[in-house]
Symmetry: C2
Subunit: 453 residues, 2 copies
């Protein structure tokens, strides 16, 4: 039977990062990465297939780097794993034994338990090129599209579907349904959510916030409408479900590894399962919060990548790496607005009873403001714990640098930095790239908070 040193099941962010890390750290080890798709879509790029790239094959993670590193890629379906003889069995009855196994089986889109989800033209956003192409074909023929779920994936899908429809001669109407009072409200400050909603509306998306879906209606097996709990019905010939994902623990359950349907495959802070030769990383693996070390359901490619790096390093390490826990560090772009966030929102801090002091500043992202590309109202809002002045959240809305400004904040949160420290540090600025040194958002927001602490 074929044997490999390291077998990784799953080929998206966590799987790839595990594979490359093992090869970098332990170049002599044979590494095989198994995936159940022929090609791996860029997970976060999926919405941009529809309105920007216009082709599923333009949103593929290339294999060349992995192959060049000597990583073997197998596109096949794993039927079961026998832990007793450390063997992976494929559906075609072939098998492969391992020294170390890493489960990076990812997540599955949530299908809500409402009538009608089984109707034709109701799609989840699954990371499979064939499936993504089916969505594309349906969208090109749609008259009325309804996206259910106003988190990142739902908002980005709605925005990109609107972009596609706006380009087509007789494009479809696009509606977005969200249960909460605003889109993106779990990750972003309310005012920033409202800015995103304005962008969506300008792009032609009709918003139904505070709205719960009761059922999907159909005729001849095909979806025809979305019935809301308030009695309204939205006509729909294509429905996209973007309401989150749950860990894919099917294989772990078959293997009798401890796994929770909501929290994932049980791992410790070294990404080890209870089986000393089996690790897990990414959306399928259990996580704890960076902040309170309690179980966390944050599932992001950024978390998956870091976990893959840690798992891959630890397989043969003397001194293991440990995860510091999952931090939500996000960025998106809706219309002309980029939004970045890390850590707590005002809302989530209040929900946990954490008293915060806020620094909030708006300034142009150029100096002087007349320079090309200026966004006059770039804004940064930062949340510091009142008790010790430590940064626990930050929110950015502005231009292209928004994500990396959120990363200044993300790093500062992960390093437990205080308002005082961030106010008195030095930051690179430039007329064509940032606010002025007098108004650089992170420094000023930190100082405004420090003055109140």
């Amino acid at each position: 039977m074929k044997k490999r040193d390291v077998v990784i099941i799953g080929g998206s962010a966590a799987g790839m990062m595990t594979a490359t890390t093992v090869k970098r750290r332990y170049p002599d080890k044979q590494v095989t990465m198994i995936r159940n798709v022929s090609k791996t879509p860029v997970p976060c790029g999926i919405p941009y297939i529809y309105g920007t790239l216009k082709a599923v094959e333009k949103n593929i993670i290339p294999d060349d780097k992995l192959l060049a590193m000597g990583i073997e890629i197998i596109a096949d379906h794993v039927e079961r794993v026998e832990r007793s003889d450390k063997t992976v069995h494929f559906s075609n009855e072939e098998s492969l034994s391992y020294d170390k196994l890493v489960l990076a089986t990812g997540s599955k889109p949530v299908v809500p338990p409402i009538p009608g989800v089984e109707l034709d033209n109701v799609f989840t956003v699954a990371k499979d090129p064939f499936f993504l192409q089916r969505i594309f074909t349906a969208l090109q023929q749609a008259r009325q599209v309804v996206v259910i779920g106003g988190g990142f994936i739902g908002v980005e899908m709605a925005e990109q579907i609107a972009a596609l429809q706006n380009e087509m001669k007789q494009g479809a109407s696009v509606a977005l349904v969200e249960m909460l009072p605003h889109c993106l409200l779990l990750a972003c400050e309310e005012e920033f959510c409202i800015e995103a909603e304005k962008e969506l509306q300008q792009d032609g998306v009709t918003l139904y916030t505070n709205s719960r879906v009761e059922k999907l209606e159909g005729a001849e097996g095909r979806v025809t409408g979305v019935k809301l709990a308030d009695g309204r019905t939205l006509a729909a010939d294509v429905v996209i479900l973007g309401i989150g994902a749950l860990p894919n623990i099917d294989l772990a359950e078959q293997m009798e590894l401890e796994a929770d349907p909501r929290l994932g495959i049980k791992v410790d802070d070294q990404m080890r399962t209870a089986d000393p030769d089996i690790y897990s990383a990414g959306d399928c693996a259990s996580k704890f919060s960076f902040f309170d070390k309690q179980p966390s359901c944050i599932r992001l490619a950024s978390v998956a990548a870091t976990e893959g790096l840690i798992a891959g390093s630890n397989l043969y390490a003397d001194k293991p790496r440990r995860t510091i826990g999952a931090l939500g560090a996000f960025a998106t772009q809706i219309g002309a607005r980029a939004i970045g966030a890390a850590g707590y929102t005002t809302r989530s801090a209040a929900a946990e009873g954490i008293e915060v002091v806020i620094g909030d500043t708006t300034a142009p992202n150029r100096h002087p403001g007349g320079l090309p590309g200026c966004i006059a109202d770039m804004r940064v809002k930062m949340l510091f714990r009142k008790q010790d002045g430590v940064l626990i959240g930050g929110h950015v809305i502005g231009g292209e640098a928004t994500a990396d400004m959120a990363n200044v904040i993300a790093v500062a949160i992960q390093k437990h930095m205080t308002a005082e420290e961030l106010a008195t540090m030095q930051y690179a600025t430039h007329p064509l790239l940032t606010a002025s040194p007098l108004t650089y958002h992170i420094m000023v927001a930190a100082e405004l908070a420090a003055a109140k602490l």
Copy 2:
């Protein structure tokens, strides 16, 4: 006689930051800011007057925010300060007494001791609108412009003058003369300097590196050429001197405060001079290096702003703030390339005998790379101290987010973060804004170094 609680002499980055900080922290204090220009140019924006803004008055820091905070602005020349009775005397024989005085008198451009610098049409880059307008008028009539000095100011001036000349019907030729083997070499990695030079050349700037200026030649009192030490003479009817700045200590010397012509007005880490009622901040104040606490000549608006914040906070504070020392954190944009840097270069680390481990990665700043605005070869190079893995330098070349990516690095340097910490943190990424979570430059560069440490 008029009396104010706080009098600040100087109205650029340090002066303004001091003024606003005092008003924010101590709203009841009367604050007067004195400057010797009617309006304050954005210091870093000066090059962009010539090729982009096309008007001196478009590069002015507005006074409205300061006035709205109740800060009094006096545009006048200070003749002397009497410390015995704490009084500022103006050239018009008026005077103003102070409780606390802050010297933020800035710097003066270096005029090199070579023959011919006194000729007409030889300009330093001084922060005075009238003077800047004279440069503009000369540039609009120039046939051959030579910029002497290939640091940030020289490179940016050359690039913008070339942009102006390229737009004009019969624009002037533009040459840049630099003593070192490359432009920007004191702040940036050599390979990044070479990229900047390529951009300059594409914009039509002729480069003379490794070239020392021997003298300026003239006829009838006007400059006609720049004679290099190797014997070549560059024809020139306008010469711009961009070879650095020295602290303006004239007033401090009159006041008999300790001051060094090269290092500036002597202050401690709370920005206090030896006189308990006099502080100093910005280009005129002495500095020490963040790294080795030795005297530093780093003069940047970012340092000045932080020092102003510290000085302004400390004037009436129970618990003083202290500066952590000057870190060089820079960004610029040359043609299509933005370049950011913080801390050591490979060259400066070697010069100090510091052994470093380098993490160096190149990846597109979009994922997938086909998305709009992609810069395929965005690159980050980070230097970690071999002995303990602590980050001491970082260099970025790429797109608009370059400065804020340099700020992730700047913050990490100032917080003494290690390759291990930076490799295992989580970073916000987004297809339209950053590299993928698998290739995010800072994480990957840190991991490449961590694997070698």
